[in-house]
Symmetry: C2
Subunit: 345 residues, 2 copies
């Protein structure tokens, strides 16, 4: 089931800022520009700002200059910089300005924003797209098309902001907005992204130390190339991601290790039946990645007064593996359309 | 550095047989046919034979009918069937007929062939190419172009056979022939292929058991998709491969687990410097996969009387990560050209 095209009408006249123009921020910037959003950007690196200007992008020399008068600001810097940038931007913009980020872990920043009274303005986000490249020169306006883009509304007070941002992301990026709690995002992302990075590093690292290193590289075909591709991600980015979701990553890594131990145990015992059962169990999850069927869903809530119900619906939708396909506000009613797995209730 | 095209002159008039026409055997068959080799094939499954005939391939109803009068036979059945088929084919062909296989582990079959006096005729082989699909309908004549194809000469008595097969594989399949000992192949393949399959299954299996299974699948982007692709391989094929190289796979898995434990330890301790050092160490092996530079090499040996030196050269070449680009026999001399990593001696 394909998603219907979102209307581009939502973004006319919107003023946006992108702070940090590496691979992800640069791709956000290019896509906003292509969608005729009036977008200004900033990057701490003067050389990157120069490169951006050469490409005809509107790069300015300070955070404050970039966000002045904006209705939406994308925080796209490295994870450790986000809390500081968030406070600085909140200070420099008015309450109507929507703030979001694109970091790969969400719990810490969500707690920080709540503690600083920003739950109504800040919607933590995470577009599930990327590449093993880095930098503005690798940015790609089409990076997010069809990708899942997690948004984490921080309580019912943040729903107005969430709805505005959802419409913008659908219409500009053609992404599948997945509403989730920050904690559930971090648990799911640990398995969907962070642990795979650890496995890829462990495999590549073991090869690096192997006596037959060069022979292994010569023999490396699909399974090794695929299994280590993300080991080419810049180390800084990988370390930030892992450290930013440490407990969850270690928990989920434990579950993967448990499965690996079962596989190794069956192999050590030469127990073909057990080995087959485990490989088939694993194959089922992989098959679901491409074969899972989704059904459409529609829910309505009053714009005011049903915030907790609306919030519960949204967080439940993401936890069940669903995503939004539309978000309209009309005559006092917010109408969500969504796709949910057939297995969900 | 690209490999020079091999001459097609070597294969004119050659008669070949392919036994077992699944994904790999079928691809071998299609490529031999396209190269105008006179090729006959057999598969134990009548339906597969029917499908092959419909595609204009020469499928016959018995092993003996397929191999009659052949100069080279490719054994492409499942690993557990290979010893039996090898004996049957050796019986049905004369000493001039070269026998090889395409199985993903080599040590067991090499020992078996030696024990049955077939070291001069049988050259264990392993083309490092594949797909997560299966069956003749997924076969692809171009599957081996540019791939590494391991051949394991079983002692100096097998060198004449090795040279003939090397020329055939270079000229027909445009593959990079990697000469290796069967044991070194199994050690290298464990890291290059078998352990990656285990990791992919463990990751997919842990997701299958996760509370947030559907949310993980929704969030799954590049790292998860890549890291689990081979988990879609038919379970039977994966189990055969792992059981056929059990000790090596468990050894190498131990090394990967050690690296993973170091990564997890650094993460648990919040030791950013240690985490960065490990991720960079791993990144180096991954970078070498695409950036490694090779230099050309040329070696000559008398066709007769220097077998041990020639064998030692060949096995050393593969262990160092090199591959052959040419093998000519002229005026009593065998001339090998090769590419070797700059790091090798």
């Amino acid at each position: 089931m394909t998603d219907p095209p979102a209307s581009a009408g939502d973004v006319r006249g919107v003023r946006a800022a992108v702070l940090g123009t590496g691979l992800i921020g640069g791709s956000v910037l290019l896509r906003l520009r292509d969608a005729d959003v009036e977008v200004t950007a900033w990057d701490p690196d003067p050389e990157t700002r120069r490169l951006g200007r050469e490409r005809g992008l509107h790069l300015v020399d300070s955070v404050e200059a970039a966000v002045a008068g904006c209705e939406v600001v994308f925080l796209c810097g490295p994870l450790p910089t986000l809390p500081g940038t968030l406070l600085r931007v909140a200070e420099a913009t008015d309450d109507h300005c929507v703030l979001t980020d694109v970091g790969s872990t969400k719990g810490g920043l969500a707690d920080f924003a709540r503690a600083h009274g920003l739950a109504a303005r800040f919607v933590p986000g995470h577009p599930m797209a990327g590449s093993d490249r880095a930098g503005l020169h690798s940015a790609d306006a089409a990076l997010f098309g069809g990708a899942s883009w997690v948004l984490c509304p921080l309580g019912s007070a943040g729903l107005t902001t969430f709805r505005r941002l959802t419409r913008l992301i659908m219409s500009v990026f053609r992404a599948r907005v997945v509403p989730m709690s920050a904690d559930e995002h971090d648990a799911a992302a640990a398995l969907a992204s962070h642990v795979p990075h650890l496995l890829a590093r462990a495999l590549a690292g073991a090869v690096h130390r192997a006596d037959l290193r060069d022979a292994v590289l010569t023999l490396a075909a699909g399974s090794f190339r695929d299994g280590t591709r993300v080991a080419a991600t810049p180390s800084d980015r990988t370390a930030n991601m892992l450290l930013g979701n440490r407990e969850r990553v270690l928990d989920e890594l434990g579950r993967v290790s448990d499965f690996l131990d079962e596989l190794a145990g069956a192999l050590r015992a030469g127990d073909r039946a057990a080995l087959l059962a485990l490989t088939e169990e694993a194959g089922a999850a992989r098959a679901a990645l491409t074969e899972r069927s989704l059904r459409p869903q529609r829910r309505e809530f009053p714009v005011h007064g049903a915030g907790e119900r609306e919030l519960a619906y949204l967080l439940g939708l993401g936890a069940a593996g669903g995503h939004l396909t539309g978000c309209r506000v009309e005559a006092g009613t917010v109408v969500y359309t969504a796709h949910v797995p057939d297995s969900a209730h």
